[in-house]
């Protein structure tokens, strides 16, 4: 059973049963999952054929090489790839896994899903209001993701959302978020361009309190993890939020573009040093990139993926399910 919205969001004491909103039905979730798997598989024929070919013929030295190649090409990185392949190889050689294509493939999926589950936890929205901070490198899809999350929180749980346009640097950033706020039915708090990002977050939380809104999502400017002063600024924004509400931000998510290579690991590392990242949103999975870097992030940093984005419309967001992710990688 794939992870549901109810499982990925921890809403704490909120009674959403009486919100009058129907949680997504099995049929709907299967449909969305199928669409997602299709979009994930769109250009994966090559990978599928490689994996199928290598696993359904003999199990020999070439099998392991081809598997290595496939995982590297998925951006899993050399260390994680080596770990996974060696583990599987050992199990097959020891007889723990029988040396036939199907069994090996199923075990591989299990191993990949295990790796992808590193640090697994739901998105913590236990607060009144709950504060969610979005961070990440330029161009990874923070603002679009915020729009999607806001829409899903409203649609799935009937929650009211306030968006904080704390990207006061990028040209027309507030306008961009304003458009998403409108589409998602959320309120927007912004300042003049060049204003203090911390102040915007502060105002948004105050406004949410005043209006009894459920969730505040704070957008921040894209920044490279190598820019010390910008990372310091981010730490400051977090501090402002924490000062205002002791448990906040309740959740900090980093957006990672699925096309990102090994640098994704560095990004996750350094952003966590600045603001204690709780989870990853893996974006742009509707392309041909496999997003394997999240395996490395979960495996080496213990930071779990919580959401995946696969498209530019409000609906194109899904709770991360490790087995689905692993299976979609090898789907026929």
């Amino acid at each position: 059973m794939p992870t549901t919205w109810q499982e990925i969001f921890d809403l704490g004491a909120r009674d959403t049963a009486s919100s009058g909103v129907e949680p997504e039905s099995d049929e709907q979730s299967r449909g969305v999952f199928r669409r997602l798997r299709e979009s994930l598989s769109k250009s994966r024929q090559a990978l599928v054929e490689e994996i199928s070919a290598s696993l359904f013929d003999r199990i020999d030295e070439e099998t392991w090489e081809r598997l290595e190649e496939a995982l590297i090409m998925a951006d899993a990185g050399a260390p994680t790839t080596a770990e996974v392949v060696e583990k599987l190889e050992r199990e097959v050689e020891s007889g723990a896994v029988s040396a036939d294509g199907e069994a090996v493939r199923e075990r591989l999926i299990e191993i990949l899903a295990e790796v992808a589950s590193g640090g697994r936890a739901p998105i913590d929205l236990n607060g009144e209001p709950a504060v969610l901070l979005m961070v990440g490198v330029n161009g990874t899809g923070k603002t679009t993701t915020i729009g999607k999350i806001a829409w899903h929180l409203s649609k799935e749980f009937g929650l009211s959302v306030v968006l904080a346009a704390a990207d006061t640097y990028r040209a027309a950033a507030a306008e961009q978020l304003a458009e998403w706020a409108q589409r998602a039915g959320a309120e927007l708090i912004r300042s003049a361009p060049g204003g203090d990002p911390g102040a915007v977050a502060f105002d948004a939380i105050a406004a949410a309190r005043a209006r009894g809104a459920d969730v505040v999502i704070v957008d921040t400017a894209g920044r490279l993890h190598t820019q010390g002063n910008l990372m310091d600024e981010l730490t400051k924004v977090r501090r402002v939020i924490a000062k205002q509400m002791p448990d906040a931000p309740h959740e900090t998510l980093i957006s990672i573009d699925a096309t990102t290579g090994q640098n994704g690991l560095r990004q996750a590392q350094l952003f966590t040093e600045a603001v204690a990242v709780d989870g990853v949103v893996l974006t742009k999975l509707d392309g041909t990139a496999k997003g394997g870097i999240v395996l490395a992030i979960a495996n080496e940093l213990g930071i779990p993926v919580k959401l995946i984005g696969a498209g530019e419309t409000l609906e194109d967001l899904r709770p991360f399910d490790p087995e689905d992710f692993a299976r979609a990688l090898l789907a026929e």
């Binding site: 590297i72 330029n138 161009g139 640097y169 990028r170």
Partner: protein, 454 residues
């Protein structure tokens, strides 16, 4: 990081020195390390495979110089090959002979197209060109607003029709306006699109057909991983791009995508975008990218940029000062080469006027390998550095050492010796005999005695 690769190679090749030549086993072991380094750098797996093949051939043919650390020698070869691969072929930005030059920008979502458009506009505007922009991204919320804002900052007019018109029509209209307004350049921004999105790729092809750009640039994020190849191939087929703009190079992504795209499409990388400010935009340097991919860092670009302004002034002043002492490392290199052509140096030294009396020097063993090394070091210097070795500090020393496969101390030694040699030459010109100490310093220390004296 360079040290890491070089050290790893050295450990792998520790047996080589005594053998003098790299055999196949050595090279295979070295190739494994190189492949790992390149994969770490996000170079595409298949590109790494084929590159390693070419590299292996070159390494097998190479002699291991006795004075050079085999690990460093291999790195030197890799660096050269990478630089060659990413530079060389391909044309420059094409300009129209009359009417506006049309430049079409394309790429994935979030790659940095809009910012790159503004930067390119500013860059071209610097040479006095009248540059305008066309806002053809009607999908991304506030994309038009963003381009208008950054366009203004760049001093370029933005032609836009909001988000209700068709991008192909906007592009055509903008070109007409640009012609009327007698613009020199029109840069067309487009929406980010997936290379597998048929509709949007069709749209891009239509835009291209309609406005017939002189240059189509693919904007690629430096942190892109293995996917870069698929993306580049698709865009090459549909958009037939002429060159690449690499963005977000101010991060610490090693940037292997640059090599992948070049290797697979043959298209050159025109520009490097190195920061969020509009000024952070340079012509692409293949040698720096090669060092960066190998993990040798590209701090050089940043530091050198800062030093550059001071350098140019310094160089001018110094040039005037050096009028009297014009002898540069370049000259030294030429002289040395000419002399070596004549035969082993040990024989020649005795022939030099005034040297006859210097018995110690006559018996000195001249290490020809040392001279090879000196040549390599000088060849890794820029013309500016050869003319003015005083500027060779920190990062430059590192780069020169890396490029020549030598150690930083050896670079230091050469610069010091050259200085002393120049002093000595001035003395000789003015009629003074160089002292034995000076000669000793110049040859790098006391000649190796054959017997230990008590």
């Amino acid at each position: 990081m360079f040290d890491q690769l070089s050290d790893r190679l050295q450990a792998t090749l520790s047996e080589v020195r005594s053998r003098g030549k790299l055999n196949e086993g050595d090279v295979d072991a070295a190739m494994r390390e190189i492949r790992l380094a390149l994969l770490e750098a996000d170079v595409n797996f298949k590109v790494v495979k084929s590159f390693a093949k070419t590299l292996k051939e070159r390494c097998l043919g190479a002699d291991v110089l006795e004075s050079l650390d085999p690990g460093q020698q291999v790195v030197k070869i890799v660096n050269e090959e990478l630089t060659g691969l990413m530079g060389g072929t391909g044309r420059d930005l094409a300009f129209a002979s009359k009417g506006p030059t049309v430049i079409l920008m394309a790429g994935l979502q979030g790659s940095g197209k809009t910012t790159a458009c503004a930067k390119l506009a500013r860059h071209l505007g610097e040479s006095g060109k009248n540059v305008a922009l066309a806002a053809c991204d009607v999908y991304r919320p506030a994309a038009v607003d963003q381009l208008v804002t950054v366009g203004e900052r760049a001093g370029a007019h933005v032609y836009e029709q909001g988000t209700d018109a068709d991008p192909v029509e906007i592009a055509a209209w903008a070109l007409d306006r640009a012609r009327e307004d007698e613009r020199d350049v029109l840069i067309v921004d487009t929406a980010g699109r997936l290379h597998i999105d048929e509709n949007l790729m069709d749209e891009l092809a239509k835009i291209r057909k309609r406005i017939k750009p002189h240059d189509v640039l693919l904007v690629v994020d430096a942190m892109t991983g293995q996917d870069a190849v698929g993306v580049a191939e698709s865009f090459a087929e549909t958009a037939e791009f002429d060159g690449v703009v690499m963005t977000k190079l101010d991060g610490d992504a090693r940037g292997g995508a640059a090599l992948s795209v070049k290797a697979v499409t043959g298209k050159p990388i025109f520009f490097a975008s190195t920061g969020e400010k509009l000024e952070a935009f340079d012509r692409f340097h293949p040698d720096r990218m090669a060092s960066r991919i190998l993990g040798m860092g590209d701090m050089l670009s940043l530091i050198e940029k800062a030093e550059q302004q001071v350098d140019e002034r310094q160089a001018e002043d110094l040039q005037k000062k050096l009028e009297g002492d014009r002898f540069t490392l370049e000259d030294f290199l030429q002289q040395m080469r000419q002399v070596r052509k004549m035969g082993p140096l040990s024989g020649l030294i005795g022939m030099m006027p005034g040297m006859g009396a210097m018995k110690q020097l006559k018996n000195a063993e001249i290490d020809e390998g040392e001279l090879d090394r000196v040549e390599a070091i000088i060849l890794s210097m820029t013309p500016l550095e050869r003319a003015n070795p005083a500027i060779i500090k920190g990062s430059r020393r590192k780069r020169i050492a890396a490029g020549s496969g030598t150690k930083i101390q050896q670079v230091n030694q050469l610069v010091k010796q050259f200085d002393q040699m120049r002093k000595m030459m001035r003395q000789m010109i003015s009629g003074q005999q160089p002292s034995p100490e000076q000669l000793m310093q110049m040859s790098g220390g006391a000649p190796r005695p054959k017997y230990r004296r008590r």
